[in-house]
């Protein structure tokens, strides 16, 4: 049996998101082989327009239904569609989806406005989550797999113009401004100029 088929069987049986590490363990493969196998299975499912799709993030994979089948699946499982999101929520989500994981000051640097409330709202709706790691003493936020599931993308790379926006020339310029500000000595310690 091919690795693709094994992975498909394992993920079907699991019925939920499974870590790449766990897959490597149970299939007695190394994690790179699993990652490659997952990529290949993802392509295989997509190219053959199968009813299932494979969702992959950096650490986990999950077998899910094809986005084009959403309406039928919703009807079958009697699930209500989520309501619309406010413009501010969508704006913050877009920035975190393309550029995340990122800290609150980084998000605010791009949006130009304080964003603690919006981060709280998005967290409570399960659209973003704070990661374990911290950067410059700040928690870093990333969009959740559930957000990607809702918009029907199996990985971040499917976001429109992903590469171009993630590495937008201005992003580095704007975000870099944050770093020296944190390490700078207080400005009040410099002698005042008398003119």
């Amino acid at each position: 049996m091919t690795i693709n088929a094994l992975l498909e069987a394992a993920l079907y049986a699991a019925g939920q998101s499974v870590s790449i590490r766990k897959l490597a363990q149970v299939l007695a493969l190394d994690e790179d082989a699993v990652s490659q196998g997952l990529k290949s299975l993802q392509t295989e499912l997509a190219e053959n327009e199968r009813g299932l799709a494979l969702m992959i993030d950096s650490k986990n994979a999950e077998l899910v239904t094809n986005p084009e089948a959403a309406e039928a699946v919703r009807a079958l499982l009697d699930i209500e569609s989520q309501g619309e999101l406010s413009k501010a929520s969508m704006e913050a989500l877009a920035i975190i989806a393309y550029r995340g994981p990122m800290t609150r000051p980084e998000l605010e640097q791009i949006r130009g406005i304080q964003s603690s409330t919006i981060l709280r709202i998005l967290s409570m709706r399960g659209l973003i989550e704070a990661k374990e790691e911290m950067r410059l003493g700040q928690p870093i936020y990333a969009v959740t797999p559930e957000f990607f599931k809702h918009i029907g993308f199996t990985s971040a790379e499917q976001l429109p113009d992903y590469e171009q926006l993630r590495n937008h020339v201005s992003v580095e310029t704007v975000l870099q401004e944050l770093e020296p500000m944190v390490t700078q000595p207080p400005l009040s310690s410099t002698p005042e100029s008398s003119s």
Binding site: G15, R74, K87, L93, G112, I151, G152, L159, P160, E177
Partner: protein, 235 residues
Amino acid sequence: MSYAVALDQFEGPLDLLLQLVESEKLAITEISLVKVTEPFLQYVRDHQGLIAPEELADFLVIAAKLLYLKSKMMLPDLHDPELEEGPDLATQLRLYKAFAEASGKLAERWNEAKTLYGRQFRAKAAAPAFNPPSDVDGALLREFYLKALKRLEPVIALPKAAIERVMTIEEKIEMLKTKVRSMLKVSFQRFMADSHDRHEMVVAFLALLELIKQKEVTYEQEGLFAEITLKSVSS
């Protein structure tokens, strides 16, 4: 809540700025930013009471940057290292625009709701049973609880910080008025020298322009390189 109405219109200072530039059908350049400075200030002035206090400071920072750009066009030698700091406004706005457009595309996608469904019904089917994790002890619980508390800190501290920021703006205007009245003449540089950091400098600059606008003070400048002198109107 009246402030929500304002926010439906503009999500923040960059959103407002972008809409102003686009309504004039201008490209994002320093020159076009200078052109929309007045309408931007007008909006902030008209909505001062409607913008949430913690957001007002962000509007004022952008306002100060705009005024600085405008002043620089009139006085090419004007250079303030404090106000020069931070990303330049045109770059920041171009970046904001790129993400604003991307968020529009995502919103469409969101509303299409082409959701990927996992087999969540399986999780629900599991019957509740006592199934203790093997590696949990008191120390671990304590560690996680402390972590959770730590994350709360910035959330709690924030509104206070925002209020303090806004208070500085009001205090600064008051301080400036008092100073101008008592000294009758005060140089712009001497006034700015009292600022302790970049934020205060921005606030001071903005407060000053606001006072000139309100005709509380007038300013004099003898020549292009000369110092700017402030005078109280009411005294």
